[in-house]
């Protein structure tokens, strides 16, 4: 299928008909119930002719080559380039959304770039990328497209990375993660109230996704928590969250704490101070998390990887650039030979902190 002949409307599997004549989308725990012609909260799945379809297959809001650390993934092929893209829409409605221009877009103009899965995989190969990331908006809502891209990528030995809030039901969760090689999943807070009032979702399905990915799949998992002053950053909430992470996911899942900047419907809350990120990282490590990071601020200590056994700095980072590398035989600490959890090769990539926007129409398949 080429971009020229590709349709952006494709059938989906996870829905059923209701007695009142509507169809219920069963992809995510929101379970939107759609009259003929209506779309769900995500904007991209709709009832057409009595069936739920995805309306944005093959349409993207932009492509960019980034360092993998920007996803963020710190333990997955460090310093390699990843071809990132997103579509439009989202199945949550976080008031603090940092990508709201994409996630809450109702305009098809957002989806200006057209690309078939084959084209994306070949472009990634040509650009020297080791992976493709489904990101910017939540890929679970465009899973049919993401899965087809991932299938093509596997043919070219390109890995697939999901950046997601994990708000998905059981059956599609299994199918989606079968095609992923790594994932960064948000744990946005640790109270039901935060998920309900701030994100318009629920906490438990996210916890279920985290446990599923960690224990039932081979997907490399890292977690991100965006800390918002006064809303999800109390010592108590962070301690409870850290305890849950260690008890349910184990000590080896890297955890990124990132700063909020005023955005979308949360303009009155101040940006997160760096000290909050540092405090969260300390709470996580005290609870037993071996690899906790402060993200999107300049913090060499909080951005580097240390051996959990002897404390040696294994990977030094300054922003998205690797400054030191002290792993041997792939993943062993140079000093004490304790393994570091993750997907590592003999040496890191050389992409550095570069950001390269890409136009798909420049690539000919």
């Amino acid at each position: 299928m080429t971009a020229e002949t590709m349709t952006s409307v494709v059938p989906t599997k996870y829905w059923h008909r209701l007695e009142d004549g509507r169809v219920q989308c069963d992809l995510c725990p929101r379970f939107c119930k759609l009259h003929e012609g209506k779309h769900g909260l995500c904007f991209v799945r709709a009832n057409q002719n009595g069936k739920v379809v995805l309306t944005t297959y093959g349409r993207s809001s932009g492509f960019c080559v980034d360092p993998i650390e920007k996803k963020p993934l710190n333990h997955f092929l460090p310093s390699t380039p990843v071809l990132s893209f997103g579509t439009a829409g989202c199945n949550l409605a976080c008031k603090f959304c940092q990508n709201w221009d994409i996630s809450k877009s109702r305009e098809m103009d957002t989806l200006a770039d057209e690309a078939s899965p084959e084209k994306i995989a070949k472009a990634a190969k040509e650009l020297g990328c080791r992976s493709v990331a489904y990101t910017y908006n939540d890929p679970v809502i465009f899973m049919e497209y993401a899965i087809d891209v991932a299938r093509e990528c596997r043919k070219h030995d390109i890995q697939s990375v999901a950046v997601t809030a994990g708000y998905i039901t059981e059956e599609p969760r299994k199918e989606f993660f079968e095609y992923m090689d790594a994932a960064n999943i948000d744990l946005k807070g640790f109270t039901e109230e935060f998920y309900v009032k701030i994100c318009s979702g629920h906490l438990q399905p996210v916890l279920d996704t985290l446990k599923y990915v960690k224990h039932e799949t081979d997907v490399w998992l890292e977690i991100t928590t965006l800390l918002i002053p006064g809303l999800n950053d109390s010592d108590q909430e962070l301690e409870e969250m850290a305890q849950w992470v260690v008890e349910n996911l184990g000590p080896d899942v890297p955890w990124h704490f990132i700063a909020f900047y005023p955005a979308w419907k949360m303009q009155e809350v101040p940006p997160t101070p760096e000290s909050t990120l540092t405090r969260a990282r300390e709470i996580a490590m005290k609870a037993g998390v071996r690899y906790a990071y402060t993200g999107n601020v300049s913090d060499v200590a909080g951005g580097s990887t240390y051996c959990h056994h002897c404390g040696k700095k294994l990977i030094g980072r300054n922003a998205y650039t690797i400054t030191e590398w002290h792993l041997t035989e792939g993943n062993l600490c140079e000093a004490c030979t304790t393994p570091c959890a993750g997907v590592f090769e003999e040496s890191p990539g050389t992409w550095g902190a570069k950001r390269l926007p890409v136009r798909m129409k420049d690539f000919i398949v």
Binding site: R30, K33, H35, H39, A93
Partner: protein, 109 residues
């Protein structure tokens, strides 16, 4: 099944719900908002927005509020769609405390 705006909204009309509705299902009466049952997708996103907790799913209405199912459906046919948040009614905060407001409900047209 649909979501329904109930009595607490009367003479308040905060409109926070309107701002988040993904399908423009809200219609605006003179002193009350309603949800169009033919547009609502039961996505639940409006419920936590309402400062006076006036929105419920029809299957789980507080006792005495059942008549609002019909009121929402009727007024959705008569009143214009509202898609953007606006200032609440002038005495909204005062009226938010008042119960038994059905007698004050004003219809369109």
């Amino acid at each position: 099944m649909t979501y329904v705006v109930t009595e607490n909204c009367i003479r308040c009309k905060y409109t926070d719900c309107v701002d988040v509705c993904p399908v423009d299902a809200f219609h605006e009466g003179p002193n009350f908002l309603v949800i169009n049952p033919d547009e609502c997708i039961d996505c639940d996103v409006c419920v936590p927005e309402c400062p006076v907790e006036a929105i419920f799913v029809d299957a789980d209405l507080p006792p005495g509020q059942e008549k609002f199912i019909e009121i929402n459906a009727d007024m959705a046919r008569q009143c214009p769609v509202i898609t953007e948040k606006k200032a609440p009614l002038p005495d909204a905060d005062k009226w938010s405390e008042v119960k038994e407001k059905l007698r004050y409900l004003e219809r369109c047209g």
